[in-house]
Each structure stands twice: as C-alpha cells, then as structure tokens.
C-alpha cells in the first residue's frame, strides 16, 4: 500500500469523479488505512502529557492522500469538491458498516442519543447526518455543498468561498443556516426514535 504514490491516488480520484466506480474501490482501503493509522496512534500514545495531534495528522494524511497540486484539475474547486464528496461517501459507508456490525448485523436502525450529544460522535450520527444532508440538498443544494466541503472536505471558509466563487461572508451565513437546519433535523429524527 505504501507504494501508492499521491499521483496515482489523484489519478483514481479523478477517475472516480468522472464516474469510474472501480476507482473508488481502490481509494477506500487507502482512506481506511489512514483512519486506522490515526486511530492507532491515538490509542497507543505513550504519555498523556503529550498533546494529541489528531487534527494535524488528519490534515497531513488528507494532503498526502490527494495532493491537488500533483494533478491537473480544472481548478482547485473541482479538486476540493471531488475530495469532499469522496470523504463523505467513504466515511458514511464506513460508519454504516460499523453501525451495522455493532448491532450484530441486524437491520440498519439509526438512532440518535439526545440532540445535545451532537457534534457527530457516533457512527449512527454519521449515517443520520448523511440522510439529513440529502434532504437539505433537495431544498438548497448549495448549502448542502457547503456542509460537504466544510465538514467532509475539511476546507476553510475561505477555501469554500474560492471554490464556490463567492464571499467568505456569504459562505459563513449560509453555513450558519445549514448547520441550524441540520441540527434541527437530526434532533427531530432523534426525538422520533427515542
């Protein structure tokens, strides 16, 4: 696996964005590997005084995984968009599978703890968020996109603004509403089930 170069990864990413489903299958294990590596590092850190650099590691991993400069994309926005979509797809599937297994392989049964337990802590939440995001997309595709880029893509407000060719302020406002809307949606579905 280590032998895979960023260039190859980017190639697959591009292929996937162009509709090549097989490319996704090659990307997924890489992302899982990265996740496991991060998780392991987190678990086996020797001393608690040593600050955990999960975020830094994630960013590093992410950049290593798909260095946009290495490839010829239409533009940065294109690359970010594809990467964020990929992350969303992979992480939600991952969560769905974990959730499924945790429930002993039973039917999918999304259940939220109280709304206050969010921000997204459990696998079920990932799945529920994905569903809510789909609803939001039907209502307001651009807001859903912003959430995808920010949360799944890990982009900053400025980067999103650049990708969407708008102002950071607008992104901020839209993000604010999208987040409130999603939170309400998830709280409601949580109530319904609980």
């Amino acid at each position: 696996m280590d032998a895979v170069s960023p260039k190859e990864i980017t190639g697959w990413l591009k292929a996937w964005s162009n509709g090549d489903a097989a490319a996704l299958e090659r990307l997924v294990p890489l992302i899982y590997d990265e996740l496991y590596r991060l998780a392991r590092g987190y678990m086996h850190r020797e001393s608690p005084g040593h600050p955990l650099q999960v975020t830094a590691l994630v960013n590093e991993a992410y950049l290593r995984l798909a260095n946009w400069k290495e490839a010829q994309w239409e533009n940065r926005a294109h690359f970010f968009g594809v990467a964020a979509q990929l992350m969303r797809r992979v992480l939600v599937d991952f969560a769905r599978r974990r959730d499924y297994e945790k429930r002993g392989g039973g039917h999918r049964h999304v259940q939220l703890e109280e709304a206050a337990l969010l921000p997204i802590r459990r696998d079920a939440d990932f799945v529920a968020l994905d569903d809510a995001l789909k609803s939001l997309s039907a209502l307001d595709a651009r807001k859903a996109r912003i959430v995808e880029l920010k949360f799944f893509g890990g982009l900053s407000v400025e980067e999103i603004a650049e990708a969407l060719q708008t102002s950071p302020r607008t992104v901020m406002r839209e993000w604010n509403l999208a987040r409130a809307w999603l939170f309400r949606e998830l709280s409601r579905s949580g109530e319904k089930i609980l």
């Binding site: 998780a39 509403l177 987040r179």
Partner: protein, 765 residues
C-alpha cells in the same frame, strides 16, 4: 417546501441572526406580519442555531478517527493478522477486545483476543503468561477454551482460540434468570475444568461470569487461564481506595484496574473495577499466592450470585467490596429465596470461607457435593412429573409446609410449567448425603425415631444419637428439634462442622464460642464474654452463664442440639467438654427441681471416628439416653421404594436390591434415585455399582481411605473377605462402629452389604 418559501426563510433567518436577541422578536414580528408559520419556522431555526454548540465544528475524518480510537472497537476489522482475517468484534473487556476472525489456512472461524498493550510491555511477564496459557490449553479439557496460537503482529500480542458460539455467563445471567439446575450444571462444568487445571498445577486466578462462556449446546468453556498472571502483583495496601488508584498499571492486579490506572482519568471506570473485585478471594487480597482454593472461593462467589441475584460481598465502592470480602459474612441465600436447598446453602458457605484452610480443599469435593445436589433435584423434578400433585390439605398438615414461594428465581421464569417444576423440585429437595428436609415425602421413620422423640419429650438431660456416616442422624436431630419447638421449647442448634477452626484453638475458645452461639440463638441481651471471669475456668464460666442467664430466666424447656460432635474426638480438649456436659447431667440428678431440669442436650455424632479411637473406654459418653441409628430393614426399603414410585417392580427385585445395598440409608436412597431417573437399572447396579465412576464411587472411595489409615484393621477386613475371620473384640467394634462391617458377634463379622464386599474385594485382595 417551495423554493420561494425557503428563500424567504433564508433571508429572514440571515437578517435575524445578525441582530441581537432583544431586537430579533420585534424584527420578526414586523417582517412576518401575520404569517405565523413563517415566523415559527425562522424562530425554530434560530433556536437550533443557539443549541447546536459544537455541532459539525471539526472535520469528519477527525471525528471518525477519534471515534475509532475511543471505542477501539473495529480497528482491526477488515485487517489481517498474519493468517487471520479479522471479521468482526465479538466483545470487549478489560483484558482486551475479542474479534471473530477466519483462519485463512484452515478456513475455520477463530476468536482472537488482543491483549492491551499496557500489559504486554514486560517481556518476562508475557513469557510467563504464555507458558501458563499453553499449559492450560494443553490440558485438552472439554470445558477449557482451546488456544490455537499466541501470536504477535506489529507489536500487538494476541491469542487465537477456538470460536465459541454462545454468550458469557454474565450476558446469560443479565438476560434472564437461570433455573437452579442450570446454575448447578454451569458451576459443575466449571469445577471440572478447574479440577483438571489444578491437578496440573494451574490456577485460574480470575474466575468470574465474564470468563465463563456458555455454548449454545450447553457446554461451559472457561476462558483466560492464567491471563490474570499478566496483571498480577496485587498490593494489599492499595486495594481499599478505588478513587485514587496508582498510576502505574503494574502495581494493581486486575486488568480493569490497570487500565483505569492510566492517568487519563476519563477512562477510569469504577464500575468495571468493582466487577472484578467482587470475585477476588481473601487470600489474594492478603497477598498470599493464589492457589486452587482461591479459585474455589471465586467460583463460590459466582454460584452465590447466580442463586441470589446479587454478589455476596457488595459495597458502594471497590474498597467497600474488598473490605466486605475480608470481613463480612454473606447473607444466607435463604434471604433471597426461600426455595434454596439447605444443602446448597452449606456448599456455598463452605466455598466462601475466609480462611482457605476452612474452605473446600480441593475443587473436586466441591464438585461432588454439587453433583449430588443436582442429581437430587433432577430426580425430584422427574418424580413430580410422574406423580399427581398432592392435594393442598395434605401439604398443610405437614410439619414444615412452606408458604407460597416468592423468590426472584421463580418469579422471573417464563414458562409456568417450568416454574411449577422447579418450585416442586426445590420444595421437595433432599440432597443425597445431606439432611432430609422436614417436609420430605422420602423420610422413613425407624423405631429409633419414636424413642428419640420420647426422650426429648421427657426432657431427658442428655440424649445421644450415634451411628455410622450417612445413616440419618442429622435428619433425625432436625425432626426432634422441630417437634420440641412446636411444643413450646426454646431450641438451639449448633453444627460442630460449621464452627471455624479458630474456635477449636483451645478449650477456652471453644467454650466461649458455644456460649456466644447460645446467647445469639436465644436472642439474649447479655454477651457471655462480658460476664466471663478470668479467675475461673471456662467450664465454670459457661456453667454460670447458662444457669443465670439462660435457665433461670425462662420457664420454657431449652433443647440444645449439637450436631457432628465427632469433630471433638480429634481434639485434645474434647474430653473437657464432654466432662462439662456430664457434670450438668449429674447436677440435675442431684437437684431434680433446679434450673438444670429445663436443659435437654441432644447430641449427634458419627461413630466412624471410632476407627481411630483405639481405646473404646474413651468413648465420650457413658451417661444419658443413648440411641444408635441403624440401617433400614427390608420393609423400610420396600416403603421407600413405593414412595419413589416403585422403580423396583416386585418383591424379587426388591430382594435383589436389598442384597446389594442392604439397608444402608444413603446407598438405598441414592440407588432408588438413580433408578427413578433411569440412569441406572437394577441389573446394571448389580454389575457395575462398585465402579469408581458409578453413583457410589465417592462414597466407596472413602471407605478405602479410612481403612488405609490403620493397617491392622485393613488386614482384619482382608481376612474376613477371604473367609478366615481374625477379628478381636476391639477391631470388631471399631469396624462395626465405622459402618464398614456388620454382624452380631466377632465371628459373625461381615461387610455391611454386598456392594461393600464387592468393592473391598476389588481393592484389597
């Protein structure tokens, strides 16, 4: 929702969110005019925004990695560990997570246990653990989890074992209550595994419900042999404070504690620490090297918990639990369930002795007692099924009818049929070898019964019941006391076997123990030790106490039962106590109307000890009313056969059976049970009952054991078996008292029954 409407909501929201709270209401009221729905929608979104907190504030990958790391659950799933493809998580415990995996070489499912890293740093310890785990696995016992491999992959230590399709005892127990026979079965199987391990010198060290797997087909598998060795080094001083655990994991014994001991206090979970603490033996707590008896204690805790529904030693903190283990006596099981057989109570009590010298010394003895009890229950259940239930009036008329039973075991049973069955089984329980319950239908009265009851009624001062082992002394004693109680006597019962070893440290100690027990059972306000006068002998002190505080303060007769008194025979100062009892008897003769007339002592003792009392003049009692309890006669055996539903069909079968086991009460009952349960037929008993594996194996082995201690008696027995009697009066009485031989005279000496003859011939000739 229409997109136009959404746009409206969007605009209003964005405008409102930038205003401060106070201004918002006014703004929205004006902007929405009378469109209340719009206003409500925007307000609800604003509210969500306020409540959303950190929602979506970090990136998804970050969240996913943290989730993964915190539950650690699936970090191996989908990965390969050498030849093992990890499939899913089976369970998580303090000693590591367990995964289902496939051995790709053999295409079979296996379980993989990943050892937490904090326990695998010390190479030496890991080596010792491996050694022990391999040794346990090499026992190849059906109740011990088989270990296939102890491996390592990228610095991760893991154990590959057979995959058990089932659940842990903890899970099973949490799911629904177990029937008593199920409980016994589980503990018996576990004992079997431990017996094999102990014989090989391996102590489990961490017996608890989490380490016992129940396979779907009913097999119990004991997990994690020796794994506690990884985490040992228990320091007694540190055991009493759960909230300030040492930060080094190695300094605490259990896996859970070790994990909790890590400085990130978020992971400290006192509940889990306590989960393990409940099963620790006092010996381990005191820093003694755990041995087989430590496992017996832990298994005793499990047994208690399964029956009572709660652990015997509890407390709000781990420290309190550990203190209870060291200092507290558990509540009798009877407190939780009136249907608990007294024999089970006795077994549990013996397993939970704080001093391991007082416990079962080998797990096999524990197992045998449980097996007998279980058999008894099963036979009773079967009997219930085959005979119509007695009419209620009948039951009411019984001496000791139990009220409707309400206990959690029964209440939680699902099937009413099962419920009735298990209630009946326990109601009628009569453990083989133990006392026959007062309300049993299987108690056979002998002529001695009548004499015995008359003696108590007359308030004789000293009534002695002697007989060989398992002849029914305790059952008779219980019936005598029960009658006396119903006639208004105050009744005290002391079982010498249940007194602690310390009580036998000196004559003074023993006498004080007896006095304290007496005061306790009679609910006296005074404590004997308070009025003990150090200038006087313990005997005099006891006598003063008895006269002043007991006999002079009541008009009711006092009936004081002392069971298993033969324990005194092996004790240096036994004669002191017998002398004391005799002197009370004499006092009464001298002063027939004095306070001593109210005291009746009823003493039961086994004459087996006579084997070792070489001088029969030492015989402890030569005063009082003496009753020797004998074997059943033919008619009594026939009567018992009827009560069992006549497993022996006719007189011919009865005669054959009587020839085989004679009237030996234990053998007779046990054999009838076996035949009723259809485990054994009469012919098979005749052919194989003398085998060690047969129903009487343990009983018979004990004969040999007693004989092996006296070569001269052994020789006498050998001679008798060969038809050349050589007994003298002394050996005749000793062998007869011990219940080994029977006969009216020296020349008539013969084995007590055919079964004994067969067995002794097989082993002595």
């Amino acid at each position: 929702m229409k997109s136009e409407r959404w746009q409206q909501i969007n605009d209003l929201y964005c405008a409102a969110v930038e205003r401060d709270e106070a201004a918002r209401a006014k703004f929205l009221a004006e902007a929405c005019d009378d469109d209340f729905e719009l206003r409500r929608e925007v307000e609800s979104l604003l509210e969500s925004n306020r409540d959303a907190g950190e929602f979506l504030s970090s990136s998804a990958l970050d969240v996913a990695a943290q989730t993964l790391a915190t539950d650690q659950d699936h970090f191996l799933i989908g990965q390969k560990l050498g030849a093992y493809q990890v499939l899913s998580l089976l369970g998580a415990g303090g000693m590591g997570h367990i995964y289902l995996a496939e051995d790709t070489r053999l295409n079979r499912k296996v379980a993989i246990k990943l050892l937490p890293r904090e326990f695998t740093q010390d190479q030496d310890r890991v080596r010792r653990f491996k050694q022990e785990a391999r040794a346990a696995s090499a026992l190849n016992h059906p109740n011990i989890l088989t270990i296939f491999e102890i491996g390592e992959h990228e610095g991760l230590q893991f154990i590959v074992t057979e995959f058990i399709d089932g659940q842990t005892l903890r899970q099973r127990f949490n799911g629904s209550a177990l029937k008593l026979t199920e409980v016994l079965d589980i503990i018996i199987q576990t004992s079997g595994a431990l017996a094999a391990a102990h014989e090989a010198g391996i102590v489990h060290r961490d017996i608890k419900p989490e380490n016992l797997m129940l396979r779907r087909d009913g097999y119990v598998k004991v997990l994690d042999f020796g794994i506690a060795k990884l985490t040992e080094q228990f320091v007694a001083g540190q055991t009493t404070r759960s909230d300030s655990l040492p930060s080094s994991s190695a300094s605490f014994r259990t896996g859970r504690v070790g994990r909790a001991g890590r400085a990130d206090s978020v992971r400290t979970d006192p509940g889990r620490v306590m989960g393990t603490a409940r099963y620790i033996s006092p010996d381990s707590l005191l820093g003694l090297e755990p041995d087989g008896r430590s496992d017996i204690f832990s298994l005793g805790v499990v047994l208690y918990e399964l029956v009572a529904g709660r652990a015997p030693f509890e407390g709000a903190t781990t420290g309190a639990v550990l203190a209870a283990i060291l200092n507290q006596e558990p509540l009798p099981l009877l407190r939780y369930s009136r249907a608990v057989p007294s024999e089970l109570e006795r077994i549990v009590e013996k397993a939970l002795q704080k001093d391991r010298d007082e416990r079962y010394q080998v797990i096999k003895d524990f197992m045998i007692d449980l097996k007998n009890l279980k058999l008894e229950l099963e036979v009773e259940a079967k009997l219930r099924r085959n005979t119509p239930p007695p009419v209620p009036q009948q039951r009411k008329s019984k001496e000791h009818s139990l009220p409707a039973l309400h206990d959690q075991i029964i209440e939680t049973q699902t099937s009413t049929e099962d419920m009735a069955e298990s209630v009946e089984a326990r109601r009628k329980l009569e453990p083989v070898g133990g006392a026959v319950p007062l309300d049993s239908e299987f108690y056979i009265e002998r002529s001695t019964d009548r004499e015995f009851h008359e003696a108590i009624e007359r308030q004789d001062s000293l009534v002695l019941v002697k007989g060989a082992r398992q002849v029914g002394k305790t059952s008779l004693l219980a019936r005598g006391l029960n009658r006396a109680r119903r006639r208004g006597a105050r009744v005290v019962l002391m079982d010498f076997q249940s007194l602690s070893r310390e009580s036998f440290a000196s004559s003074e100690k023993l006498i004080l123990t007896l006095a304290e027990t007496l005061a306790d059972q009679l609910d006296l306000d005074v404590s004997p030790s308070q009025m003990w006068n150090s200038f006087m002998s313990p005997g005099i002190n006891f006598e003063r106490f008895l006269r002043r505080e007991v006999l002079s303060k009541t008009d009711a007769p006092i009936v004081w039962g002392l069971d298993e008194v033969d324990r005194l025979f092996n004790c240096d100062f036994g004669s002191d106590l017998f002398g004391l009892f005799r002197s009370w008897h004499n006092k009464r003769a001298l002063d027939p109307e004095g306070p001593w007339k109210r005291l009746t002592q009823v003493i039961a003792y086994a004459t087996e000890a006579h084997l070792f009392i070489t001088d029969l003049n030492q015989s402890p009692f030569n005063v009082g009313t003496r009753l020797a309890l004998d074997d059943f006669n033919y008619d009594q055996v026939a009567e018992l056969n009827q009560r069992y539903g006549a497993p022996l069909k006719d007189r011919a079968e009865l005669a054959r059976y009587f020839r085989l086991v004679g009237g030996h009460p234990y053998l007779v009952r046990r054999g009838l049970h076996e035949m009723t349960a259809r485990r054994w037929t009469l012919s098979r008993l005749e052919a194989e009952a003398d085998h060690d594996e047969g129903p009487f194996g343990d009983h018979l082995r004990r004969l040999l054991l007693s004989l092996s201690q006296d070569p001269s008696l052994r020789e006498v027995v050998q001679n008798v078996l060969q038809g050349k009697p050589s007994a003298n009066t002394d050996s005749f009485y000793r062998l007869r008292s011990a219940g080994l031989m029977a006969g009216e005279s020296v020349r008539d000496l013969r084995p007590r029954c055919q079964l004994y003859a067969n067995y002794l011939e097989k082993h002595l000739l």
